[in-house]
Symmetry: D2
Subunit: 250 residues, 4 copies
């Protein structure tokens, strides 16, 4: 007999639902917050208290970003499809690619690939130099560095690393991206703040999240912000104005 495809994340019977081995109603509901539930989903266990502080702070820092292209896309979609909120939320999610939220993935990949090699962590200063050199010589920007507004320091990145430090989660990944940032500013003579996606990419790596899923951490947080923007759009609509900013013929 062929087995049917299965997911190992949860099981359920008529009176019991188990998620990652914990009972949803007795172990989780009323006992853990949404951020810890997300940690459980992704990492298969509940966070300890330090991990909880840092992981929740990572998510909290990403929820709200104002009138970004993707929240505008969500609002414009609502103009045409008010019958289906999920369509507008999805439109808002679709802009979270390589350019914005995807830089979390870029930063985490850079750090995880660099530290995956045997002995790579022995000389982080040298490793940072190699990484910066590779990016500069191929004229690629370094993921996680630079911000148009939050300069010379992105206050969210600084706060995240403070929290990581206080909670024993500032390890090699954090150190490496700080060295990369310093080296990049030195080499380019430009202000290149570590931005929030770079900090989240480093901390996701400290938490053992593979880089392939790191974009998803940003997406789940931003999804909350998208819903809030749609709520505001229902009450105080602006999408029609944004539309009029585009061409309209008489």
């Amino acid at each position: 007999m062929t087995e049917r495809p299965r997911s190992a994340i949860s099981t359920s019977t008529s009176d019991r639902i188990t998620v990652r081995g914990l009972d949803l109603t007795t172990d989780l509901m009323g006992k853990v917050g949404l951020g810890d539930m997300a940690f459980l989903e992704l990492l298969g266990r509940l966070p300890n208290s330090g991990e909880s502080v840092v992981f929740n702070a990572m998510l909290v820092s990403l929820v709200e970003h104002g009138l970004t292209p993707n929240t505008l896309a969500a609002r414009l979609t609502y103009l045409g499809s008010p019958e289906a909120l999920q369509a507008s939320v999805a439109a808002g999610v679709l802009g979270l690619g390589t350019v914005f939220v995807g830089s979390i993935e870029g930063a985490a990949r850079m750090l995880q690939e660099a530290l995956a090699e045997e002995g790579a962590g022995d000389d982080l200063q040298r490793l940072a130099g190699v990484i910066v050199e590779e990016h500069l010589s191929s004229r690629r920007s370094i993921p996680g560095l630079g911000h148009p507004i939050h300069r010379p320091v992105d206050p969210r990145a600084r706060r995240l690393f403070e929290l990581a430090s206080e909670n024993g989660l500032a390890g090699s990944y954090v150190e490496l991206i700080e060295l990369i940032q310093a080296e990049a500013e030195l080499r380019t003579r430009r202000t290149l703040p570590l931005n929030v996606t770079g900090a989240v990419g480093a901390l996701a790596s400290e938490l053992q999240l593979p880089w392939t899923i790191c974009r998803g951490v940003g997406i789940m947080a931003r999804c909350i912000g998208i819903v809030a923007h749609l709520q505001e759009e229902m009450r105080d609509p602006i999408a029609a104005e944004v539309w009029r900013a585009g061409e309209r013929e008489s």
Copy 2:
């Protein structure tokens, strides 16, 4: 001069981001969890401790639902678009319409419209009778009632109402949907458990969330589960098997 469209949710300067009047880095990051941040986004203020327990439990109860049609759609999308995780998450969000998560909206709408009328709350038993009668006579199902697996009681709904009760949030909306559920079982002589979406719809109403945004509460929670399913799909793929369950010609 015409003003540019604005969102009142957040503002930012080079060194400070404010969300709903609170400083993101000093008031929120490291101090509030993701669920409380979602509450702030939607309701414009942080929850008190009872509201926090209940709102987080609502969200936690909705995160994970196993291999539902929408997580399958997300996984099948990943087969074709591995370069863009946001596309797969959006595909998973798109199935959260009237049939599944949308029933939160249906239940909240039913309760909020019923209790919006002057004096409507004076005789909840009579009101429940009217609502059940309206649905039965027009052969519409009552949103928030019934479940194919969790019978005769959905343990998540029971737990949510316990938590609401312990935290002073079991008001008229909770009472009304319980009366509707009892009346519906009496009238139809069928087992019609209050399900998790019905309970969430009632509690969202207690928290003053308008029914128009209640589908969004489910979407933000399920978005987390979708990301976790995609992480599992990367490691232990099943989408190709699901595909083969469909037609394949030789």
Copy 3:
């Protein structure tokens, strides 16, 4: 043994693909245009020459609509997700709901439900009066009527009905919506042109397309326009300007 789910639309072997009973390479490729292929997909047979003219004209009239909210959403999505064109196209599709393209569905539903009843076609003038009365008395707008720019006549609607007339496809559905339009202008004393979506809804009904799929006719046409807008966005980008029309803090 349970059978696997199957689609009856097409079959294939190593050297032959059949769509709706026709051989893709010998009967279709090089012989029929894209519009006729769409007709075959939806109606299960190729159109005759008159049907082909009218169906292609319906689709052609819907392809391009300028900088609408949904093409703006597609362009804004491209800003963030340039790695995945399908994400931007999908974002553009998501705004094609009840308000814009969905009015094709609304008009087709109104006409098809009205003419589905036994003998309903015997007195179209009376039927039109009933329909207009129902909408006015419940303060609902009549689907397919009215346009902010194309007044007093939508030239696309007029052209579509000319083509239908020349090709023997102007039957009861066309007559009914024309009577509805005239009656609505008379009753409201306002200019209410039959718009392109109303005309397409009537002609889709003449072609026996059920109203439930009529929104899809608009979506397939507009999908072509969305791709063209994304091509233009790659060459002459405007999405960043539209974004700047929204709030941007210093």
Copy 4:
């Protein structure tokens, strides 16, 4: 005064709509088919008769692909969101990434980048050898080659190149991909048929479509097929069965 963002694709006044300089109602509706309209949108002019035959055949060959992962995703989405057909179509579009339809882009990019260099077309045989060598040595698959079912020849690719030849559109891009295919089979001693996406990528290049938009050509064609699958799903639903092929607990 700053100008508002504009699209150069179309303009409209109350009684006239112009697309790429042609009058929509008098020059296009009733005169050109949907495929030619798509050509006009993308290339800014109507096709000549040979181009029309080939471009329509390219699109026709891509419309229908059976129960692929993306049509299953569309059908599963419809289970949850029947109120919004656009959501299901978008879910179907979202799986058209690098793995399936995106290989049109891959093939077109390979050919266009190879022939962009000065004098590159002088020795196509040598160029084909270099391209195959580059892919084999870096263990990358060659876009546009190979098919699990249509072996040793994909009949759609063969037919497309016949039509191109008959219509004077088989130039250097067609020749180059044929040489690449032959060389790849020789070097790998495996059967590697030119598949339909490879042929479409080569012909799109002959038509001067930049590779960056070639994925869109596939998306617009497949969008038609997705709508047809959703129409079938409404009449003869299979999504619930596919769902049951996934895990379901009692």
